[in-house]
C-alpha cells in the first residue's frame, strides 16, 4: 500500500488547510502521505499526525501573516526550493486550503504552480470564510479563487457556512470546528480509501486522473452516512440534499459524477444497485457516473457515500491529451511526473508546426513569452478543438 501511495499526497495550505488535512489523516487511521505549509508555528503546533513545514520563517519568524496575501506569497517563495523538494515525485495531489487568510490566499497559488511544474494532477478543496467573518475577508477569498481554479485540475469550493450545515453542527462553537473538520476529513479519507483499497468495484488513481483531465474548473463535493434497513435509499437521499452542494446548479446539470461507497462486508449487491439507480435517477440521462467501493469490516452496518459532481467537462478532443496521436490515456498518465505537460507541449509544437499560422504577423518580430510564440493563435497553442 505504501508503494501505491508513493505518488499521492495530501497537502494542507495555511492554518485552516493544515487542520483539515490533519483531520483527514486522523480519519484515515493509517499512514497517509501528507504535508502542511504555514507561516505560523503556533497554529500548527497542535498538529502532530502529519509534517507541517513552516515557510517564510526568516522573514516572519514563525508568526502569521496578519491576513496579508502578499506576505503569504512571499513566505512560500522564500522557501520554494524546500517546498519543491518536499513535493518531488507527487503525481496526484489533493490540496486543502482555507481561503480568506494570508497563507491560504497568497501561498496556495504558489504551491499549485510548483505542483504544475512537477507535472502533478491536482484536486483542490478550498473553503470560503464564514459569512460572519465579514465582507472583506470573503472578498479576499473570492479574489484568490481564479488563480487557484486555473492551477488545479478540479476545484471544490466549500463555503464554511455550508460545511458546518452539512456537519449538522449544533454544538457550542468550541466543539463545532472539530466536528466540521471531522465531516470533511471523513469524506476526503473515503476518496483516499477508494484509491488505495478498492473493493468490489475499483476506482483506481488512473480513473480519477482520467476524470480530472476531462473536467474543467470547479466541481462539487458531498458526503452522506447512514445505517439501518433502508440505508442505501437514505444515503442517496442524504447525499442529494447535502448543503455542500449549494442551491445551484442542480444535480441535473452535472456532466459527470464520481461516487465512492464505503461499507462493511455486509453490503449487498442489491444495495449497491439501489444506490447507483437512485443516484442516476437524480442525474441527467447523459451524465457519466463512475462508481467505486471500499469494503472495510469496521464499517459493518453503515453505508458512507462520497461524491464529486463535475458540472463542466472539456469538449471531446479539447483536452491536451486529445492532441496526442497515440493513446491519449497513456500520454496523460505517463509514469514520470512532468511527462503529461511535457507531452502536451510537444504535441502542441507538432500541431502548430504543421500550419502556417502567424498570418499577418509573419513579417514582424515574434512576441515570445515563456517559450511560446504569442503571435500564433491561442486556440492552436492550447489545443482547443473547434466545433465546425
Amino acid at each position: 500500500m505504501i508503494e501505491k501511495q508513493a505518488n499521492l499526497m495530501l497537502i494542507g495550505v495555511g492554518g485552516g488547510g493544515c487542520r483539515f488535512a490533519s483531520a483527514a489523516v486522523r480519519a484515515f487511521g493509517g499512514a497517509l502521505p501528507a504535508i502542511g505549509f504555514d507561516t505560523d508555528a503556533l497554529a500548527t503546533r497542535g498538529i502532530g499526525n502529519m509534517r507541517c513545514m513552516i515557510v517564510g520563517a526568516q522573514r516572519f519568524d514563525g508568526h502569521g501573516t496578519g491576513g496579508d496575501a502578499v506576505k503569504g506569497r512571499q513566505a512560500l517563495r522564500d522557501d520554494q526550493e524546500a517546498v519543491r523538494s518536499a513535493l518531488a515525485g507527487v503525481r496526484l495531489a489533493v490540496v486543502v486550503t482555507a481561503l480568506g487568510g494570508g497563507v491560504g490566499n497568497g501561498a496556495t497559488p504558489q504551491v499549485l504552480q510548483i505542483l504544475r511544474d512537477l507535472g502533478a494532477h491536482v484536486l483542490c478543496f478550498a473553503t470560503l470564510p464564514f459569512g460572519l467573518e465579514g465582507r472583506e475577508r470573503g472578498q479576499a477569498a473570492e479574489r484568490a479563487l481564479p488563480l487557484i481554479e486555473e492551477g488545479s485540475d478540479a476545484l471544490v469550493v466549500l463555503p464554511m457556512d455550508q460545511l458546518y450545515a452539512a456537519a449538522g453542527v449544533q454544538e457550542p462553537l468550541a466543539d463545532a470546528a472539530p466536528r466540521a473538520e471531522e465531516t470533511f476529513g471523513a469524506g476526503l479519507t473515503l476518496l483516499w480509501r477508494l484509491i488505495l483499497a478498492p473493493g468490489f468495484i475499483s476506482l483506481d488513481p488512473e480513473s480519477i486522473l482520467a476524470m480530472l483531465t476531462q473536467t474543467k474548473g470547479r466541481c462539487r463535493f458531498a458526503v452522506a452516512s447512514t445505517t439501518g434497513e433502508a440505508r442505501a435509499a437514505e444515503a442517496v437521499a442524504q447525499l442529494c440534499r447535502s448543503p455542500l452542494l449549494g442551491p445551484a446548479p442542480t444535480l441535473q446539470e452535472a456532466q459527470a459524477v464520481m461516487l465512492g461507497v464505503l461499507a462493511g462486508g455486509d453490503l449487498r449487491l442489491a444495495e449497491l444497485t439501489d444506490v447507483s439507480q437512485r443516484l442516476r435517477a437524480s442525474l441527467a440521462p447523459a451524465c457519466e457516473l463512475r462508481l467505486g467501493t471500499v469494503l472495510d469490516e469496521r464499517y459493518a452496518g453503515q453505508i458512507q457515500l462520497v461524491a464529486l459532481f463535475f458540472d463542466v467537462l472539456r469538449e471531446k478532443g479539447a483536452s491536451p491529451a486529445a492532441d496526442n496521436e497515440s493513446d491519449g490515456m497513456a500520454e496523460v498518465l505517463g509514469p514520470i511526473p512532468g511527462e503529461r505537460r511535457a507531452a502536451a507541449r510537444r504535441s502542441r509544437g507538432k500541431t502548430v508546426a504543421r500550419q502556417a499560422v502567424r498570418g499577418r504577423f509573419k513579417d514582424v518580430e515574434a512576441t515570445w513569452l515563456n517559450g511560446e510564440d504569442l503571435d500564433r493563435p491561442t486556440y492552436l497553442r492550447q489545443g482547443i478543438a473547434l466545433d465546425r
Binding site: 496579508d68 496575501a69 502578499v70 506569497r73 512571499q74 490566499n105 497568497g106 497559488p109 479576499a140 473570492e142 479574489r143 484568490a144 479563487l145 481564479p146 488563480l147 486555473e150 500550419q355 499560422v357 502567424r358 498570418g359 499577418r360 504577423f361 513579417d363 514582424v364 518580430e365 512576441t367 513569452l369 504569442l374 503571435d375 493563435p377 491561442t378 486556440y379 492552436l380 492550447q382 482547443i384 473547434l386 466545433d387 465546425r388
Partner: protein, 400 residues
C-alpha cells in the same frame, strides 16, 4: 500667463489619434480638436514602414488642427509595446548627520540613487515613480525627512523602453515636420485620463487593450506600483479568427466587431454565422460558438498575462477598486464578465472622465491614451513651466 494648447499623438496599431486640448481658468481641460485616421505601417506598436505610418499621423494631426483651429507644430507622443518594461529599483544610503536625523539632502541622494537603474545599452528610462522609503527595518514611510534612523532606502519603479523603438516613432512624427516634446508610456496616459483619486487610493489596475499591444498600470496605496506592456492586442484576435476560419483579415475584423463576444455561451450552440462569397470562396457558414471560442481563448490568455504580472508584483490583493479596461478592445461584449472570472475583481470599462469634449464620440475608451497625454502635458507645464506644447508663441499669435 495663459497656458497654450497642448497637442497629443498616439500612433496605435489600428488607428492614429491626435488630440488638441486647452485649459480654462478653472483648470478644466477640454479637448477642442480631434483627428483619427487608420494606421498603416505599424504592427504591435512598432513601426516597420515610416512612409506608411506618416500618412496616418499627417491626416490625424491635420483633422485635430482644423477642428481646434490650432496650428500644431510640436506634440507629445504616447508609446506602448512589448518592449516596455518596469522594474523596482532600490537605492540605499547611510543617514549622514551625526544625530541620525534624515535631511533633505539624504532624501535627494537616495532618490538619485534609486533612479539610477543600470540598463542594457539599448534601453532608456522613460519614467521613474517613487514607491516608499524605508528607514532601517521600518518600511512604508512616505516622508522620511526629520525622522531618525541609520539606513535610508527608497524603492523606485523604473519604466524603461528599447531606444530604437521609441526613436522610430519619433521619426514618423519628424517626417511630417513636427517635433516631439516628450514621449510618455501609454499606460500612464490612460491612468491620468480615466482614474479618479478615490480609485487610486483604493488600489486599481488599468488595462489598455490596443490593436497591437496591451498595456497595464496599477496603483496600490495611491502610488503607481506596477506597469508594463505586452505585444499582444486586438489584432491577434483578428488574426486568430482569420486563421481558424480561413477568412481574409478585413472580413475577420468586421465579423469580430459585429459578432464578437469574450465569453462562450451555451446559447450560441446551434447558431451559425454566414460568410458571404468572397475572394473566389463560396458562401458558407461557421459556428458562432467556435467563433466565440477563438476570441475567448485569446482574450483570456491576454488578461492572464496581465494577471500574472500583477500577481508577481504582489499587487493583486491590493486592488480594491478592481480593474478598468480602456482602448479599442474594451468595446468587446462580455469583456468585463471575463475579467471578473479571471481577476476575481470587479471590472468595468473606463472612459476619459478627467477631460471634457469627448462626450459625443462613439467609443470614448479609445481616446483614453491621447486624452491622458494632453493631461500629462498640462500637468508638466503647470509643474515646471518649461513645456512648449504646441508652439513657442503666445496663444493669440498661433491662432489662425
Amino acid at each position: 500667463m495663459a497656458i497654450p494648447p497642448i497637442a497629443a499623438l498616439e500612433i496605435g496599431t489600428t488607428q492614429t489619434v491626435a488630440l488638441v486640448g486647452e485649459i480654462d481658468e478653472a483648470r478644466r481641460v477640454t479637448i477642442t480638436g480631434r483627428g483619427v485616421y487608420k494606421t498603416s505601417g505599424v504592427r504591435k506598436g512598432q513601426v516597420f514602414d515610416v512612409d506608411l505610418a506618416k500618412i496616418g499621423v499627417a491626416k490625424a494631426v491635420q483633422q485635430a488642427s482644423e477642428e481646434s483651429d490650432v496650428d500644431v507644430g510640436r506634440l507629445l507622443l504616447a508609446v506602448s509595446g512589448g518592449h516596455i518594461e518596469a522594474k523596482i529599483n532600490r537605492g540605499s544610503i547611510p543617514v549622514r548627520a551625526r544625530d541620525r536625523i534624515v535631511s533633505h539632502e539624504d532624501v535627494e541622494e537616495v532618490t538619485e540613487l534609486a533612479q539610477a537603474l543600470v540598463l542594457p545599452p539599448d534601453r532608456d528610462i522613460m519614467h521613474t515613480v517613487s514607491q516608499s522609503f524605508s528607514l532601517d527595518d521600518q518600511a512604508g514611510i512616505l516622508k522620511p525627512e526629520g525622522l531618525s534612523g541609520a539606513q535610508l532606502s527608497l524603492d523606485m519603479l523604473v519604466i524603461h523602453a528599447l531606444r530604437n523603438r521609441v526613436d522610430n516613432l519619433r521619426k514618423v512624427v519628424q517626417s511630417v515636420e513636427m517635433d516631439v516634446d516628450d514621449v510618455v508610456f501609454s499606460g500612464l496616459c490612460v491612468a491620468l485620463s480615466v482614474l479618479t483619486s478615490e480609485q487610486k487610493r483604493n488600489g486599481v489596475a488599468i488595462i489598455d487593450l490596443g490593436g497591437g499591444t496591451t498595456s497595464f498600470l496599477a496603483y496600490a496605496d495611491n502610488v503607481i506600483a506596477s506597469a508594463g506592456s505586452f505585444g499582444v492586442g486586438g489584432d491577434h484576435i483578428t488574426n486568430d479568427l482569420a486563421v481558424a476560419f480561413n477568412l481574409p483579415t478585413g472580413r475577420a475584423e468586421e465579423l469580430k466587431r459585429r459578432e464578437g463576444h469574450a465569453q462562450v455561451s451555451a446559447a450560441t450552440n446551434l447558431k451559425r454565422l454566414i460568410i458571404p462569397e468572397e475572394l473566389g470562396m463560396q458562401e458558407r457558414s461557421i459556428s458562432l460558438k467556435a467563433f466565440h471560442t477563438v476570441i475567448n481563448a485569446r482574450q483570456a490568455e491576454t488578461l492572464r498575462l496581465v494577471r500574472t504580472a500583477l500577481h508577481e508584483a504582489g499587487i493583486l490583493p491590493r486592488l480594491n477598486a478592481g480593474i478598468i479596461f480602456t482602448g479599442g478592445g474594451a468595446a468587446l461584449p462580455g469583456l468585463t464578465d471575463l475579467g471578473r472570472a479571471i481577476f476575481g475583481l470587479p471590472c468595468l470599462v473606463g472612459e476619459p472622465c478627467n477631460v471634457t469634449g469627448l462626450a459625443d464620440v462613439e467609443t470614448p475608451a479609445a481616446y483614453a491614451t491621447a486624452a491622458g497625454l494632453v493631461l500629462y502635458g498640462f500637468k508638466t507645464y503647470q509643474e515646471t513651466g518649461i513645456m512648449h506644447p504646441v508652439k513657442e508663441f503666445l496663444q493669440g499669435i498661433f491662432r489662425r
